[in-house]
Homo-oligomer: 348 residues x 2
């Protein structure tokens, strides 16, 4: 398999991404070529520091980087030599089968949509994130690609999320729920109510509304929502997880007796930390495009990058985009027709 990685956009710079590539090359023999896209000098330095000298690595120079506070669509159109655009072009041209980037979500969505383009009939690509839970993990889609959504988009997200849960997570008939402020049908807002109507028309195991209380109780496999709410929930979960671990550490080392106790329970803690660790997932696919695109966490470190590469390889192996293409077209036939925007128009 051949992949392209934008190494410039992450919070921790290019080194950790290169370190992650090294881990992946050691771990996954199926990886035949890695295009490392970004500033040539920085990459060469990082490769040297990582002592990574591997014929499977191919440096692709890009002179620009997308900033966090640029309007993604404008920036992608203007910065044609940015690392994210160059990496996307490698996928478009067939030189790579997947694109991975820890850069900002808006930039990745814009670059991927403009360059790689959406699958036919897909209105908006969406990020499907695996959320760790103390019981069973679930998929949250959209986790941040589309802050403003229409019901039709959410219906398509449900189809794509269900494919991901089935193919990658092995859930035979994934339970699909719409994230809402209560389980009763009269709850929700305009968007969720219209979405629920559409989902009843589709061949999905649709279980209705799910609320915050259901997320960690193994009630649902695919949680469908707009990218604004999805991102709120995701970041709240991450932030709260970290906050509780910090508090535990402080409380459990408060005095000598507790320190001894903490030593005895330490293996239990490690299990919990591992379960809650976002690095174990590493990357979330942006579904609905003509190529495999993986958003790595902005704060991803080497192990998270390695896992994002694994996620991209799974997407390739399972022919995810081909399945989405097929099932979205079938779904569209059941949905009330919507005026399909020309493929170049993107909500950034």
């Amino acid at each position: 398999m051949r992949i392209a990685i934008d190494v410039m956009g992450g919070d921790h710079g290019c080194q950790v991404v290169v370190d992650g590539i090294k881990l992946a090359l050691q771990e996954y023999p199926a990886l035949k070529e890695v295009h490392v896209v970004g500033d040539q000098k920085s990459i060469e330095g990082a490769l040297a520091r990582a002592r990574l000298n591997d014929s499977r690595v191919n440096i692709v120079h890009a002179s620009e980087v997308l900033g966090m506070d640029e309007k993604p669509l404008t920036a992608v159109r203007r910065k044609r030599d940015s690392s994210i655009v160059r990496a996307a072009e490698l996928v478009k041209n067939g030189q790579a089968e997947a694109l991975i980037s820890p850069g900002n979500t808006g930039g990745l969505v814009a670059a991927a949509t403009l360059t790689i383009r959406r699958l036919e009939g897909v209105e908006r690509p969406a990020i499907a994130t695996l959320v760790p839970s103390t019981k069973q993990d679930f998929i949250l889609i959209d986790a941040g690609a589309n802050p403003d959504c229409k019901p039709f988009y959410l219906a398509q997200f449900a189809v794509m999320g269900a494919i991901y849960a089935r193919e990658i997570m092995g859930r035979a008939r994934p339970r699909v729920g719409v994230l809402s402020n209560g389980k009763e049908e009269i709850k929700g807002n305009e968007l969720t109510r219209e979405t629920a109507k559409l989902l009843q028309l589709l061949d999905l195991n649709f279980i209705g509304y799910v609320e915050g209380h259901d997320l960690f109780n193994d009630h649902v496999d695919v949680v469908v929502t707009d990218g604004f709410s999805g991102n709120l929930v995701l970041k709240t979960v991450e932030s709260m997880g970290k906050s509780i671990l910090r508090l535990l550490k402080r409380e459990l080392t408060g005095n000598m007796m507790r320190k001894v106790g903490a030593m005895l329970v330490a293996p239990g803690f490690r299990n919990i930390k591992q379960r809650m660790d976002p690095d174990a997932y590493g990357g979330a696919p942006l579904l609905g495009l003509k190529g495999n695109v993986i958003k790595a966490h902005g704060s991803a470190r080497d192990r998270a990058i390695m896992n994002a590469i694994r996620v991209s390889m799974e997407a390739i192996q399972h022919h995810l985009k081909e399945m989405i293409q097929e099932e979205i077209q079938r779904a569209n036939q059941r949905l009330p027709q919507m005026v399909i925007a020309p493929s170049a128009t993107v909500a950034a």
Copy 2:
């Protein structure tokens, strides 16, 4: 102080509410009269079981109860003898200074808005919930009264939330943030972007967007959002908190050595549990009405009900509604004028 409590709508029935009233009567001497509103026979039974025989208790019979899956506005208009409507009327007629209910949010909002009515110039009442954090607690407004919102509403929520944080939580110049999917100005959705523009016009300590990652890091005192997103975040936090505590319990009693360790660290755990305990707050005020209205948690038990009563007493003591009346009128003068809906129109 005189209060009215709807004892019928909670998840655990009328007994726990009556038990909570008993605790409050013991704890708060300033409580001069409690109107206990609901089915007379059930209340009498609960009072007997609680061995509560106190001249400050006054039973007010109501023959109906609002159901969870009724359309709130229709139900409130039709069920004039429901406990929530009767309790709201006591506030309207001046027989009680505050209304407390563990019943469903939609019903409470509809009954309170139709009966007690909004303060002049207030577009929508909003729920201000105190969210426990491992660092410093913060206010989330709106936590669920208005699933569909306009920017103007959110601007008013910010004003009301800041008053609450200042008067009740003692934050001198509360930091007000708009909940968004990222800190940068270009993030957010249509609603948050327009809201941020309005908040810059007001005399608030407005700090811009806050995202999930900021919530538990003591970055913000008042988090402004629509009732849909607010409710999602709140329930996610509650659900995850419970889930982690469950997991900890399981992991830390996994074998004999860990059990011994768990005993040694137990006091640390109790501290954490207390900090994260929603019962410690008990009730969230519905701000913007001509009376004090407190939403108690649906799953509130006796101690939570007692705390909800305390919250209502604080609202009375601090003249919260008078301050809101004054500051909302000042804020409205700074905001671009919006066509104010006649006060009887409510979004249910």
